[in-house]
């Protein structure tokens, strides 16, 4: 082979990989996502349109006709929109933190290719997290833009909910990633996560009605649910929903803590599993 010499020595390659390895893997993750970018975009536009029309416009007309007092003085669409944005982000995260992880370790073993390169297992975990975060930010921003078009995000700080919704996705997705990293076979766990965790969270996190209207013995679902925390924050940001400042801090800290715990655990599990 007669080609240009490699522009980096092995020592330089290693130094770059130590510094930027997570970003190199994120680049890989995003290149893979580009292969299904069209469906992500269609989903990003189609889902908000469907939900906002069906629930926000159809159902809202019915609810608003019966008085909007229950929703803090705003119309139902404005009340609902922050929850829809956050739940869409959480659902995207569910898929991205389950299947590619199983694919990487088990199905097609795609994590083991980069593992033989200068990258460390923890960087592969981090790279995946970075890639998915970017992949979630984009459709969340699109979702938010459509909410704005529907006139359901009146406040000047409403745009910040793009980031709180993404944080919600990580708060739910990273502990899930840590769990999936420990799986050695798929015996129905993914369907169980969807049915018995994601769906109840979607329904009982103060999404469609205030959490306080649930019976007391179901309200704990909301307190544990990143979706409730993100939804509440989204409402504060979107239309100034009245809430004590300390509770706002709890929302942010809860989501940050669970996301960080999930990331730290994932890094450890990746390192242990790949270095055996």
């Amino acid at each position: 082979m007669t080609s240009a010499p490699v522009p980096l020595t092995p020592a330089q390659s290693a130094a770059k990989a130590r510094r930027l390895g997570s970003w190199y893997f994120a680049e890989h993750t995003l290149r893979v996502m580009r292969t299904y970018a069209a469906s992500v975009l269609m989903y990003s536009v189609g889902t908000p349109l469907a939900y906002l029309f069906a629930m926000g416009v159809g159902l809202a007309a019915l609810i608003d006709a019966n008085g909007a007092g229950a929703f803090g003085g705003v119309d139902y669409l404005t009340f609902l929109a922050p929850a829809l944005v956050a739940s869409a982000a959480m659902m995207s995260a569910t898929g991205e933190f389950m299947f590619p992880i199983m694919d990487g370790f088990k199905w097609r073993r795609t994590f083991f290719g980069p593992h033989a390169s200068p990258l460390a297992p923890a960087q592969i975990a981090q790279g995946h997290i970075i890639g998915v975060t970017i992949r979630i930010l984009v459709p969340t921003a699109i979702y938010f833009a459509i909410v704005v078009l529907f006139g359901a995000a009146p406040g000047p700080w409403a745009w910040v909910s793009i980031f709180t919704a993404t944080l919600c996705a990580l708060s739910f997705g990273l502990p899930l990633m840590a769990y999936v990293s420990t799986l050695t076979k798929d015996s129905g766990q993914f369907a169980a996560v969807q049915r018995f965790i994601v769906t109840p969270l979607f329904l009982f996190s103060g999404t469609f009605f205030p959490l306080a209207t649930l019976p007391w013995f179901l309200q704990w679902i909301g307190w544990l649910s990143p979706l409730w925390h993100a939804t509440e924050l989204g409402r504060v940001l979107s239309y100034g929903y009245a809430e004590p400042a300390w509770l706002g801090a709890v929302h942010v800290l809860y989501m940050l803590a669970t996301a960080v715990a999930g990331a730290v655990l994932s890094r450890r599990i990746f390192t242990r599993r790949m270095g055996a």
Partner: protein, 339 residues
């Protein structure tokens, strides 16, 4: 220069050791050429199970070094430790003078790795697999784009550059994995069972490509349970079984030392092989009875066959062939390489 001693090897005798040291001095040239890989008392345990048991070897630059052994012998585990992706339980290991446990990224930057199972990204196109992999080494796209085209040409995959990996045959995927491992121009290439599962034609294409790399001075370290592969590609081999090194040397030297020049294979039918074996005693240097045939080790196969006939025995089939590494393995372990 340090002799290539094999530790904990019950079958090692001093005569062989002396001859190997001599061979190594002749082939390695001056003492200035360092070993690119040195393993001493390397051990790997998984709980109570010892996968690699106290093995030692040194590999000089440019050598083509093979680990030959059956499945479960500890070859892949050894490769994973050399590749800096698996922690050893004991012993020392040095790759380009670096301990892979302390300097993982540095060690891996020196290596090209072809794993036993392909782990290409099937969602990416053929060419993109090479580019993405090169990025892990911090290499810029301006270098990687022409490099990817060149590697595809080397792997005879230029026409498939834009195809999905899923559409490639097994042999093509293997060649793409080899191309991928070369993206950083490694001086050491680790190949774990490079041709397992490939048809003969695909194997020969692959051997040809590996031969070219060897000619270009790349150090090849490969595991295989195919003796023909080891004979074709390796300058030196260690025969491994149950995590231990049973013997070490060039394919020809191993055959010379542990086997005869020729082997006469006779078949009397699976029912009779064992009983007839006793009547064959004394023909050739020794015999080995397998379920489906009896092997007679001799320097003159034709004469041995005449003797078989002279004893009034008429085998269903007979075959005279030269000794192979399979015979070496059988001699050393009492078992066949491919169970």
């Amino acid at each position: 220069m340090k002799p290539q001693l094999v530790w904990g090897n019950p079958l090692w005798d001093s005569k062989a050791c002396t001859s190997l040291v001599r061979v190594s001095i002749q082939t390695r040239g001056s003492a200035a050429s360092p070993y690119v890989i040195s393993a001493h008392n390397l051990t790997k345990k998984y709980g109570d199970f010892t996968a690699v048991d106290n093995i030692s070897f040194d590999i000089p630059a440019g050598e083509s070094f093979g680990l030959l052994g059956p499945n479960g012998a500890g070859k892949s585990t050894t490769m994973r430790m050399i590749g800096g992706v698996s922690q050893r339980s004991g012993g020392t290991l040095s790759i380009m003078g670096l301990d892979p446990e302390k300097y993982g990224p540095e060690v891996r930057s020196h290596l090209g790795v072809v794993p036993q199972q392909d782990n290409l990204d099937e969602e990416l196109k053929v060419r993109d697999n090479l580019i993405v992999y090169g990025r892990y080494f911090g290499l810029p796209l301006s270098y990687l784009k022409p490099k990817a085209d060149e590697l595809l040409e080397f792997a005879q995959l230029s026409e498939k550059a834009g195809a999905k990996v899923d559409d490639l045959s097994g042999g093509m995927k293997r060649r793409l994995t080899i191309a991928r491992s070369l993206v950083n121009d490694p001086k050491i290439l680790l190949l774990d069972e490079p041709t397992t599962g490939l048809d003969p034609q695909a194997r020969h294409i692959l051997w040809d490509r590996l031969f070219r790399l060897k000619e270009a001075g790349t150090t090849l370290v490969l595991t295989t349970h195919y003796m023909d592969e080891a004979e074709q590609l390796c300058d030196r081999i260690v025969v491994v079984d149950k995590g231990r090194i049973m013997a070490e040397g060039s394919p020809a030297a191993l055959i010379r030392q542990y086997s005869t020049r020729e082997v006469l294979e006779v078949r009397f039918g699976s029912e009779r092989n064992a009983t007839v074996a006793a009547e064959l005693a004394g023909i050739g240097e020794r015999t080995e009875t397998l379920p489906d045939r009896v092997l007679i080790y001799t320097d003159d196969g034709e004469r041995a066959l005449e003797e078989v006939a002279a004893r009034g025995l008429s085998p269903l089939t007979s075959l005279i062939r030269r000794s192979s590494l399979e015979d070496v393995f059988l001699r050393l372990t009492g078992r066949s390489l491919i169970d």
